[in-house]
């Protein structure tokens, strides 16, 4: 038996969230006295694959079929099933990304496995049990879930596992799943990546600077962007801000937008409605800047400033500039 980790690439490199999954997988392998293998698909550079050894991966199975450069669920599921069979994997680890959750669910049915998504901790494996902790109720609680099938499939919540380092280099072996055209029937016609202006992608970000209706209008967003740039952070916003088209929809966080769990979330001119908190409440450190001392967000904050954003934020930008990077 072994532990198998699915890693996703982005621009030839391994995504940060997949490095977290790899770190998780090799720690589970240690717990179970076995080894961790990764499976990678499509557009990932060879040296990025060997560097997975840093996270404790011994071997990488790689399917470089060009048709796989784009995500196609059926084809990906076939490749990973093949790897599971070949490695006799009993634990399968993904990042809880849109891709990871989707293929995890398909594989759970196809291979008769137990699936837990949104997992935040290493499993408890004593006494032959296998129990993981997962986030439920939009960050308001956790549940311990026993995975009872032979094959355990786990999707790791982003930014909840430390990336380990210090391992060796991984060996890379080719994998081929004999894909047919039928496996590519549902293929994206067009893929449009967001223009982050060289900045950081929100779902992967460790630091996030977010603006709400208190910013008054899109013409003031340079304050949010400048602070984000100085800190190396991604930018985000509240729902009304994207509804009014001050900012694009993919920046909207919260219950109906995306969920983020960065190390630092700075909320500027956001009241802290419960639907907004649902998307950010598992951030490690929360900073709230609001001119209203009664704003509900302060209750969820670690640091707060009661003040006018238009006076406070320029001071933060100055202080951030003065940091040695």
């Amino acid at each position: 038996m072994s532990v198998l980790v699915f890693v996703e690439g982005l621009n030839g490199e391994i995504k940060k969230s997949s490095l977290e999954a790899a770190s998780y997988g090799s720690q589970v392998a240690q717990q179970l006295s076995t080894t961790a293998t990764a499976v990678a698909i499509g557009d990932v550079k060879q040296d990025a694959l060997t560097r997975l050894g840093e996270q404790g991966i011994e071997k990488v199975l790689y399917d470089g079929d060009e048709r796989l450069n784009q995500f196609v669920a059926d084809a990906y599921v076939k490749v990973i099933s093949k790897a599971v069979e070949q490695e006799d994997a009993k634990v399968l680890v993904f990042s809880n990304s849109n891709i990871g959750a989707a293929i995890g669910a398909r594989l759970a049915v196809r291979l008769n496995g137990s699936l837990a998504t949104n997992v935040t901790n290493l499993p408890q494996t004593d006494g032959g049990n296998f129990t993981v902790t997962r986030g439920v109720f939009s960050g308001k609680a956790f549940a311990d879930v026993a995975l009872t099938a032979d094959l355990k499939i786990i999707a790791i919540k982003k930014n909840s596992i430390e990336i380990t380092s210090g391992g060796d280099t991984a060996t890379v072996e080719n994998l081929s799943a004999d894909l047919s055209d039928a496996d590519f029937a549902v293929k994206a016609k067009e893929t449009v990546m967001q223009d982050t202006g060289g900045g950081v992608l929100l779902p992967e970000a460790e630091l996030v600077v977010s603006g709400g209706r208190g910013m008054k209008g899109p013409e003031n967003w340079h304050l949010i962007e400048d602070l984000a740039k100085e800190l190396g952070a991604a930018t985000a916003c509240s729902k009304p801000v994207s509804d009014m088209d001050w900012r694009p929809h993919h920046e909207h966080v919260g219950q109906t937008g995306i969920t983020v769990s960065p190390n630092l979330y700075i909320a500027i001119g956001i009241s802290g409605a419960i639907q907004h908190l649902a998307g950010v409440n598992s951030s490690k450190v929360i900073v709230v800047i609001n001119k209203d001392p009664e704003a509900p967000f302060f209750k969820a904050a670690d640091y707060g400033i009661v003040g006018d954003a238009f006076e406070v934020v320029p001071k933060l930008i100055e202080a951030a500039k003065a940091l040695d990077k």
Binding site: N98, I99, L115, V145, A188, E204, L207, Y303, E311
Partner: protein, 246 residues
């Protein structure tokens, strides 16, 4: 076109989340239940498509009798009929099997769901049903249009961007904002909903794959540290030296 919309019954987002004294079960006391917000996007999009192209919208819930007020609400918003599979939704796989069984019997052209249920945050049911039925699931989609009678065009979110996908019927999609503008039922809707058919079926033999053994709540924050706005730059120093996040 026959559309099936799967709705789950979840605690309203503003609910306080509590568990029973032994932390083994969710405490329903005082909790108001709503249609899962993402499922409402799916429902209104389904009704819009029906209004434009004709057809029927059926809503499906796997749940016990206490979910019926929200099933009636979906009928009041504009669904034509409803099916309730009479069972507690034990885990995603159990729910997926019930949905797949109903779908096999009635062969829908489109099955719409929400991006995830806001109680268990699984994001699992759509692809499980897709696998059980052998059809594609486009998740999470924020745009859905019919190209012609056999093909749909969707835009779905991927990390860092979006994809435009065309699929043949039948297919599954999960909805997220801004797929549609959720509607509030009007008086006429509420009146007619009372007489629309709501069929209750018993679950078919299915097993579960996971056991929920225990619940807990996150540790309370240590309280907020306030910084003088005149001296705002101090915050950046604290974030580096004290919180160690910069």
């Amino acid at each position: 076109m026959k559309i099936l919309v799967c709705i789950s019954n979840v605690p309203d987002t503003t609910s306080k989340i509590n568990f029973t004294a032994d932390n083994k079960e969710f405490d329903k006391a005082g909790v108001q239940y709503v249609i899962n917000p993402w499922d409402e996007y799916a429902l209104t999009r389904a009704i819009e498509l029906k209004e434009a192209k004709g057809g029927t919208v059926t809503v499906l819930n796997v749940g016990e009798a206490d979910t019926e007020p929200n099933i009636r609400k979906a009928l009041a918003i504009g669904a034509d009929d409803a099916i309730r599979v009479n069972a507690y939704p034990k885990d995603s796989f159990f729910v997926a099997q019930q949905i797949a069984a109903v779908a096999k019997e009635n062969s829908y052209d489109v099955i719409l769901m929400g991006k995830e249920s806001i109680d268990f945050n699984g994001s699992q049911v759509h692809n499980m049903v897709g696998e059980l039925l052998g059809i594609p699931a486009v998740v999470p989609a924020f745009k859905l249009d019919m190209v012609d009678d056999t093909t749909a065009r969707l835009e779905r979110e991927i990390e860092g961007g979006k994809e435009v996908v065309e699929v043949n019927l039948p297919f599954i999609a999960s909805a997220q904002q801004p797929m549609s503008e959720p509607r509030i039922p009007n008086m006429r809707g509420i009146m007619t909903a009372r007489t629309k058919p709501l069929k209750v079926v018993e679950p078919s033999g299915a097993d579960t794959k996971v056991d929920y053994v225990n619940y807990s709540k996150p540790e309370k924050k240590g309280g907020v540290k306030m910084i003088d706005p005149e001296n705002a730059g101090e915050l950046i120093k604290l974030l580096r030296n004290e919180a160690k996040v910069l």
